[in-house]
C-alpha cells in the first residue's frame, strides 16, 4: 500500500509540501506520544501515529528516519514545525480522528 493510497483512504490532510506519495511505501508503524518510547521502538520507514505536534516530533522522526507522521485529533503544529519537517524530509499528515481509530484502520489496510 503506497502512502498516496493511505492518504486517500484515511482522508488525511497533508501539512508538509504536497507531492505525489506513490513512491513512499510505509513499512509498519508505531503509536505513542512518549518521545523516548518512539526513539526506542519505532523503526526506519515506519508510520508514527501521535497527537503531539511540537518541534521535537520532527526531531525524533528525523532521528529515527521515520518519514511519515500522522497527527491525530486535529493536533495543529506551528508553521515552524511544518517548515522544519520539510527541511528534514519528514511528511506530516493530519486527521481529526483519535489515534486508536487511525491505528485500527492502518492495521486493516495491511500496515503491520
Amino acid at each position: 500500500m503506497t502512502l498516496q493510497e493511505l492518504i486517500t483512504k484515511l482522508n488525511l490532510t497533508v501539512l508538509t509540501t504536497p507531492r505525489d506519495f506513490s513512491a513512499v511505501i510505509p513499512q509498519g508503524g508505531y503509536a505513542s506520544d512518549l518521545l523516548s518510547c518512539v526513539i526506542a521502538g519505532a523503526e526506519a520507514g515506519n508510520i508514527w501515529v501521535t497527537l503531539q505536534a511540537h518541534m521535537n516530533v520532527v526531531a525524533v522522526a528525523a532521528l529515527r528516519d521515520v518519514s511519515v507522521v500522522i497527527l491525530t485529533e486535529n493536533a495543529q503544529p506551528e508553521a515552524e514545525v511544518i517548515e522544519k519537517a520539510n527541511q528534514q524530509d519528514v511528511i506530516l499528515l493530519a486527521t481529526s480522528e483519535p489515534s486508536y481509530e487511525v491505528v485500527g484502520k492502518l492495521w486493516e489496510l495491511g500496515i503491520r
Binding site: R19, D20, S36, I39, N56
Partner: protein
C-alpha cells in the same frame, strides 16, 4: 528536469499536480535567486527597421537563432522572429523592410529582475524571447526559455557540487590531516526548558557524522544517544549545559555537563520508566523514564557522575572495524595519548 521547466512555463490554465509542486520548489527558488542578466545571451545580433526581411533570414540562418531585436538609433523599436519571416516569405515579400513585419509592442525585462519575472511573462504570453534592458532602458541582452533552462540547470548542478565537495572534504578530514591522534570536537550550548530548539544539536551532529562518512546506522545511533542527553539538559538542568562530541577515527566520545541540580538516585534513573520530569515536559511527551535506558542501548560505554553541584554524562561508541573513519596509515589512536 526540462519537462518540469516546460510545465512551469506552460502552467497557465492547467492544474499543477502535487508532483509538479514538489519539483518546482527548488527550481522556483533558483528562479528567484538568478537575475535575468545572469542567464541572458549577451552576444547581441541586431537589425534596423530599414533592413529587409532577407537580411533577417541571413542573420537567423547564420547565427542559429529564432529572433532578433530591432534597433533604431540605439533604442529598441521592435522584435522580428522566424514566424514573421515565414509570413513575409509566404507573401513573396522578401525585400520588404523589417518595419512592415516586426512586432512593435515589445515586452522587455530588466536585467536586475529575477528570472521568475521572465518566466511569468513566458507563461502568460506567447512570446518566445524577451529583450533584456538595463535601468536606462538600453538593450543589454536577449533571453529565451532555453537560456533560462540552461541557467537553472547550471545553478542546480552547482548546489549539488557544493554539497559533494563538502562531503568529500569532510569525509577525508582524518585522512588528510596527519597527527599522532586526530580528533574533531563539536560543542553545543543547551538552554534549559527551550523545548523548541531542543533536539537541534543532535540533528546537527547526525548530519555532521554523515558528512564525515559515518554509516546511516552509526549516525542514527549517535543521534539517539545525543538527543536523549540533550533533552535531559533541556528538561532537568537548572541553567542548561554543554554537549561535547569528540569524533576520532575509531570511536566517538560524547559528554554532557551541567551545574545542577543533579540526579537524586542514579541507580533509579537507570531503571526503565523512572522519571522526575515536570508536568510540562510530560505533557510534551517527555519523561517516559527511558532516556538513559535508550542511551545505554546505543553506546559501547556509559558513565554518570552526579552530585547536587552538577551532572556529567560520558558516552562512548567504539566503531566496528568496517565503520572507522578514514585515518592516515600508521597513525596511533591509543586512547589517552
Amino acid at each position: 528536469m526540462s519537462s518540469t521547466l516546460q510545465e512551469l512555463y506552460g502552467r497557465k490554465g492547467r492544474t499543477v499536480t502535487d508532483r509538479d509542486a514538489q519539483e518546482i520548489t527548488r527550481i522556483e527558488e533558483v528562479s528567484y535567486e538568478l537575475r535575468t542578466a545572469d542567464v541572458m545571451n549577451r552576444d547581441l545580433k541586431c537589425l534596423a527597421p530599414t533592413n529587409t526581411m532577407r537580411d533577417v533570414f541571413n542573420v537567423l540562418h547564420k547565427s542559429h537563432i529564432s529572433g532578433v531585436p530591432v534597433l533604431e538609433s540605439d533604442s529598441l523599436v521592435g522584435i522580428i522572429s522566424q514566424e514573421d519571416l515565414m509570413r513575409a516569405f509566404a507573401d513573396g515579400d522578401q525585400d520588404a523592410p523589417i518595419s512592415k513585419y516586426m512586432t512593435k509592442k515589445v515586452m522587455t525585462v530588466k536585467s536586475y529582475e529575477p528570472v521568475i519575472r521572465a518566466l511569468e511573462i513566458f507563461s502568460n504570453t506567447k512570446v518566445g524571447r524577451l529583450p533584456v534592458v538595463d535601468e536606462n532602458n538600453a538593450l543589454v541582452g536577449m533571453l529565451t526559455k532555453g537560456d533560462i533552462t540552461r541557467g537553472v540547470l547550471v545553478a542546480i548542478q552547482k548546489d549539488y557540487q557544493d554539497e559533494e565537495i563538502r562531503r568529500y572534504r569532510a569525509s577525508h578530514l582524518f585522512e588528510d590531516i596527519i597527527s599522532d591522534r586526530t580528533s574533531l570536537i563539536l560543542r553545543y550550548k543547551i538552554k534549559p526548558r527551550d523545548f523548541d530548539s531542543g533536539g537541534q544539536a543532535s540533528s546537527h551532529i547526525k548530519r555532521a557524522l554523515l558528512r564525515l562518512g559515518a554509516s546511516p546506522q552509526l549516525a542514527r545511533q549517535c543521534g539517539i544517544a545525543v538527543y536523549e542527553a540533550e533533552m535531559n539538559l533541556v528538561i532537568h538542568s537548572t541553567n542548561g549545559g554543554v554537549l561535547r562530541i569528540q569524533v576520532e577515527p575509531r570511536r566517538i566520545l560524547m559528554q554532557t555537563s551541567d551545574d545542577g541540580p543533579g540526579i537524586p538516585d542514579v541507580s533509579k534513573a537507570l531503571q526503565p520508566g523512572w522519571s522526575t520530569a515536570s508536568d510540562l515536559a510530560r505533557s510534551m511527551g517527555f519523561g517516559a523514564g527511558m532516556g538513559l535506558v535508550n542511551i545505554k542501548r546505543c553506546v559501547s560505554k556509559m558513565e554518570i557522575e552526579s552530585s547536587p553541584k552538577g551532572t556529567k554524562l560520558f558516552m562512548e561508541i567504539n566503531l566496528r572495524s568496517d565503520e572507522t573513519f578514514k585515518a592516515p596509515p600508521g597513525s596511533s589512536e591509543a586512547p589517552g595519548v
